[in-house]
């Protein structure tokens, strides 16, 4: 029980790490072979990112002790949680991991207070009271889960996990059970909650905007294997190989600065270019602008009539890469923008390297994601 009890209630001792090196074969899923190191000293959020079926949830369950690896070892700080060769397998009860499953698994027969107090160490009423308050569910304390919204259930589940004073949080697709508007709102809220509890966390997601919004670092998992890890921005910007590139997508992700906001729209500056987008970033000044390659149109000559698209950018073609019936066009418009056109229209428009064109992006096609304050360079 060493690594959770260093400095303060939630402050793990500096210099420790969670080290996972496991192997598991199971029916109906990929063979898992995961090597993962997560520093526990920094209260950072690591995103385990990958396509559905990559084995991300299984890795979380192995760490929590809910599934058993075939071989390998899991170590948390000084504690050995699992060692196949030595026959060590610590029960989930003794690992002290806060595990949130996809649908939060809030106990339906207990009130909100009953849920939060359920695993509270020592059952201390003031800890429960404090958590209810800090997760803004005090006024719901006597309600039952069926009377709560998805976002409220998530906060109750987080408060319940923290009441047990874990040393590590594991969140499995924490936003996937929510409807779209709630998901957008909770993305920012969850980031703040995670930053507020000062605890290392691993968040599983297959959604790149969630990965960007929540993660300090990211580990890419494909087909049961961890393929690349590092700071979110660098991994997403420069994938190590084609598989990782395909998993993260090679769409445009640019750090951007908010210039102004009005009527639900936000104007952001990327390099020397300005873009107008639908505002989903809350109050953040520093954001990521995410543009899917499919939603970028290329025009040869600016048309006389204005279109509904708000963003028209002068661009120079960096490269044109054929991809089956499509062609991927890399553009320089002050920042690097990727577009996808059909090969046929690319040939009709005679898109060549070095040519000057106009890139058009609708405001509704630009995803604006808040950037974690002070967690990324720039």
């Amino acid at each position: 029980m060493a690594c959770g009890e260093g400095s303060g209630p939630y402050g793990p001792r500096m210099g420790n790490e969670l080290s996972v090196d496991v192997h598991k074969r199971h029916a109906g899923g990929p063979e898992i072979a995961a090597v993962l190191r997560l520093p526990l000293g920094a209260h950072s959020v690591t995103v385990l990112f990958g396509p559905s079926g990559a084995g991300k949830t299984t890795v979380l369950r192995l760490i929590a002790g809910l599934d058993r690896p075939d071989s390998g070892s899991i170590r948390c700080g000084d504690d050995l949680w699992y060692d196949g060769a030595a026959g060590v397998d610590i029960a989930p009860q003794r690992r002290r991991v806060g595990y949130l499953s996809q649908d939060y698994a809030v106990f339906p027969h207990l009130t909100v207070r009953g849920n939060v107090a359920y695993g509270a160490r020592g059952g201390a009423a003031h800890i429960v009271h404090g958590l209810l308050a800090s997760f803004e569910v005090s006024e719901l304390a006597e309600r039952y889960p069926r009377q709560l919204s998805g976002g409220q259930l998530q906060r109750v589940a987080l408060a319940r996990a923290l009441a047990a004073q874990p040393r590590l949080l594991l969140l499995d697709e924490p936003l996937s059970a929510l409807d779209d508007p709630t998901r957008l709102r909770m993305r920012g809220d969850l980031r703040q909650l995670l930053a507020g509890v000062q605890m290392p966390a691993i968040v599983v997601t297959h959604d790149r905007t969630e990965a960007l919004a929540l993660g300090d670092s990211v580990a890419i998992m494909i087909g049961g294997r961890l393929r690349q890890a590092g700071p979110v921005e660098s991994v997403f910007d420069s994938p190590a190989d084609a598989d990782v590139a395909a998993a993260v997508g090679v769409e445009t992700i640019c750090p951007a600065r908010v210039l102004s906001r009005s009527a639900g729209l936000v104007t952001v500056e990327i390099g020397h270019a300005c873009l107008v987008a639908v505002d989903t970033a809350g109050a953040s000044a520093d954001v990521f602008a995410c543009i899917r390659a499919e939603s970028v149109t290329i025009e040869r000559n600016a048309p006389a009539n204005p279109t509904s698209a708000r963003n028209r950018l002068a661009a120079r073609i960096i490269s044109v890469t054929p991809e089956g019936p499509l062609a991927r066009v890399a553009l320089d418009c002050g920042f690097r923008l990727t577009a996808i056109v059909t090969r046929q229209s690319g040939e009709e428009m005679r898109l060549r390297e070095g040519e000057h064109v106009t890139a058009v992006v609708k405001a509704t096609s630009i995803g604006i994601v808040p950037r974690g304050a002070g967690t990324l360079p720039g």
Partner: protein, 226 residues
């Protein structure tokens, strides 16, 4: 009207239900959550009373608890009495006879508890035993109530096993179903008519109360996520 027989039947049913609650809950837990491959054999044994003729079951129980059996000798050594043709012997037979009526609803209730709730409890540091009482049992209340009521009603109506193991001793083993049989044998149709009607009424009330209660209990916690 056989008030003595009715009282005996009610006592027998109540005791049987309580004993089945005590042994049925752990048995159902084991059957639901044990990873053992051979547990289907135990499931089959528990379900045997559903298909065996009561005479066959009664015959084996009679042999098993008889004065020459190990169980019978042990019982005689401890209590000085005999199990066959006694209330205690009848109780043993009733518990075995009604076992599937308790264990099967219990087990299906446990199996219906969302696995993620159980795992959430473990991750919160709560032991498996405590999780059983704090999560699994509360979420299985409707099934547990159903199992208890079915055990009670089934014991109230048992006939063949009682006849084999208990005989027909007034105040000791003469249950209400036996008394009805006796009345009919003696062409005493009036008494049979009254007792039968009473048994029918009690059985209906018990079952109606169960299903009514079940509905209200469900209303407190609907299936998760609904």
């Amino acid at each position: 009207m056989e008030w003595q027989a009715l009282w005996l039947s009610l006592r027998l049913s109540l005791w049987t239900t309580l004993i089945l609650l005590a042994i049925g809950l752990p048995a159902a837990h084991w059957l639901t959550f044990s990873p053992r491959r051979w547990k289907f054999l135990v499931e089959a044994v528990v379900a045997l009373p559903l298909v065996l003729p009561p005479t066959v079951l009664g015959f084996y129980i009679l042999l098993a608890i008889g004065p020459h059996s190990p169980a019978g000798r042990w019982y005689a050594a401890v209590t000085g009495g005999m199990l066959p043709f006694s209330f205690q012997g009848l109780l043993v037979a009733s518990v075995l006879y009604s076992l599937p009526f308790a264990v099967q609803p219990f087990a299906s209730g446990f199996a219906g508890v969302d696995r993620r709730l159980i795992e959430a409890s473990w991750c919160l540091g709560v032991s498996r035993a405590a999780t059983f009482f704090r999560v699994i049992v509360p979420l299985s209340i409707p099934s547990i109530v159903t199992g208890m009521i079915l055990s009670f009603a089934h014991t109230l109506g048992e006939f063949g096993v009682v006849l084999m193991v208990g005989g027909n001793l007034a105040g000791i083993t003469r249950t209400v179903s036996i008394s009805i049989y006796d009345d009919v044998q003696a062409l005493n149709y009036d008494a049979a008519w009254h007792t039968s009607l009473l048994l029918l009424g009690i059985s209906f009330l018990v079952l109606a109360a169960t299903y009514g209660l079940r509905r209200r209990v469900w209303a407190v916690w609907p299936p998760y996520g609904q």
